[in-house]
């Protein structure tokens, strides 16, 4: 029991590290992209359909590359940013970049749900575009945004297990090294249970907050 704890706890903390920072960076990268997609849409406030379709294509291409291949492609970038391609810090780079386009799409679809009439009312009151983004779009779409970010976290938990296998560490790595390669079924079961609990807790927390702030 003690042995399992000694093995699982550090791995769990590594996974948590990867998930927290990858979520943070992917949201920081993806949210502005999502807002930009909504504004430049042919019915948006800035109407730049050409630029919109270029950005849209780049996002689609990034999203269609299988994650495990994306990690390999991004190895050099990890080396430039964190100085290594191994370890939890190095895994955050491809995880963030893989999740950012997903966040962009999630933000885009949440913001597009905002009632056009409310945006029009804000325009008619003399609001500027940054004011509309912050005080109308994001505020009105907040429940949807929270659910979208929850979905992102759940995805990143899954991706982090994959990143672990190629040297990222964490729960996924532990499951493969001990559970699979050393036939330690007990470790395999513990890691799977931890991942299930992690996803469950994330989803329930997200649902709770999304519901709590929704006044529609």
């Amino acid at each position: 029991m003690r042995e399992i704890l000694n093995l699982v706890l550090p791995s769990f903390l590594d996974t948590l590290y990867m998930v927290v920072f990858s979520t943070l960076f992917s949201v920081l990268l993806g949210t502005p992209l999502g807002i930009f997609l909504v504004l430049t849409d042919k019915e948006g406030l800035l109407k730049m359909p050409k630029l919109n379709s270029i950005i849209g294509s780049i996002i689609n291409i990034t999203r269609s590359i299988p994650f495990i291949i994306l990690i390999i492609i991004l190895f050099p970038l990890s080396r430039v940013i964190v100085g290594t391609t191994i370890g939890k810090e190095a895994a955050v780079v491809p995880l963030s970049i893989a999740a950012a386009p997903f966040v962009a799409r999630v933000v885009e679809s949440a913001l597009k749900e905002v009632n056009k009439g409310v945006i029009e009312a804000a325009v008619s009151l003399g609001a500027s575009i940054p004011q509309i983004v912050i005080k109308v779009l994001i505020k009105e779409a907040l429940p949807g945004l929270i659910l979208g970010i929850t979905l992102t976290i759940v995805n990143i938990i899954g991706y982090s297990a994959m990143a672990g296998v190629i040297g990222g560490g964490g729960i996924g790595d532990l499951a493969v090294r001990y559970g699979y390669q050393r036939f330690r079924t007990d470790i395999l079961i513990v890691t799977v249970i931890i991942l299930i609990l992690l996803v469950e807790i994330t989803q329930r927390t997200g649902n709770y907050f999304a519901k709590k702030i929704d006044r529609r």
Binding site: E120, A121, L125, G126, E140
Partner: protein, 258 residues
């Protein structure tokens, strides 16, 4: 106060050019309650939305206090829009903000200090009779209360002109009457010029001083309400007046087909 010269606007619908405004000329004086009536698709909504440039006209000029608003740059337009407010058929309130925050919105974007905003919001809620509702969210309000919040929001920056886009069309008759009384009171006490579009004759009858009738992108008659109603010339107005009296309207075959 508002002078519209040869205003034109057309849309491309499925590759077909549809003229929504075919060279509108209209003068609206300060302090008037000006009603624009017409059937759906007559262009009245497009005309109203040109007055704060939610729609960009293709040609012509809109002079407000002598300045052509179609020539405004971005900043001038934003300043202008703070002087010309609009209320809507479906209220368009921020659903995730309470009544207080909705009314504070135009004040916040105008950059006022918290103390002033607080004082002004209470003043406005008092004017529209919703002092006790400031913490409520729009989903807990009735249609009439929502429109009152929208009116308070529209008045926040002391506009000179209020544009009403079918503002009572989603309300029941009693609530409609109360909202119209409120608008008329604002017109009298604040000297607010009101431009409204509607297809409800009772609305025009109750509060308008002047009226213009639109048919297919053109103004077919216009003047003081009493004069125009006494001697209706256009088909639209004759039909509207008949239906208001509860008379059966006989449409010719072509119109019934629409």
């Amino acid at each position: 106060m508002i002078e519209i010269n040869n205003l034109k606007k057309s849309y491309l619908i499925n590759g077909n050019k549809t003229e929504a405004l075919k060279g509108i000329n209209l003068k609206i004086e300060k302090g008037q309650v000006f009603g624009i009536i017409g059937k759906s698709g007559a262009g009245k909504s497009t005309l109203l939305r040109c007055l704060n440039l939610l729609e960009r006209p293709d040609g012509g000029a809109i002079l407000v206090e002598g300045r052509d608003i179609t020539k405004f740059n971005k900043n001038e337009l934003r300043e202008y829009r703070k002087n010309v407010s609009m209320i809507f058929q479906h209220f368009n309130l921020l659903s995730n903000s309470n009544v207080y925050k909705n009314v504070a919105f135009p004040l916040e974007i105008a950059g006022y200090k918290r103390d002033y905003i607080d004082k002004r919001v209470r003043e406005l809620l008092n004017i529209v009779g919703l002092e006790d509702k400031e913490k409520e969210y729009p989903s807990n309000l009735s249609g009439g209360q929502k429109q009152r919040v929208a009116i308070a929001r529209a008045l926040a920056n002391n506009p000179k002109i209020l544009l009403c886009d079918e503002a009572t069309s989603a309300l029941d008759p009693l609530t409609t009457k109360q909202i119209l009384d409120l608008l008329l009171e604002l017109n009298k006490t604040l000297g607010l010029t009101i431009v409204l579009i509607t297809h409800e004759m009772d609305v025009v009858d109750r509060i308008c001083s002047n009226v213009a009738v639109m048919e297919k992108g053109e103004i077919v008659e216009e003047g003081r309400k009493d004069d125009v109603f006494k001697n209706p010339k256009s088909k639209t107005l004759r039909q509207f007046l008949q239906s208001q009296k509860g008379e059966v309207i006989y449409l010719d075959f072509k119109e019934r087909a629409i």
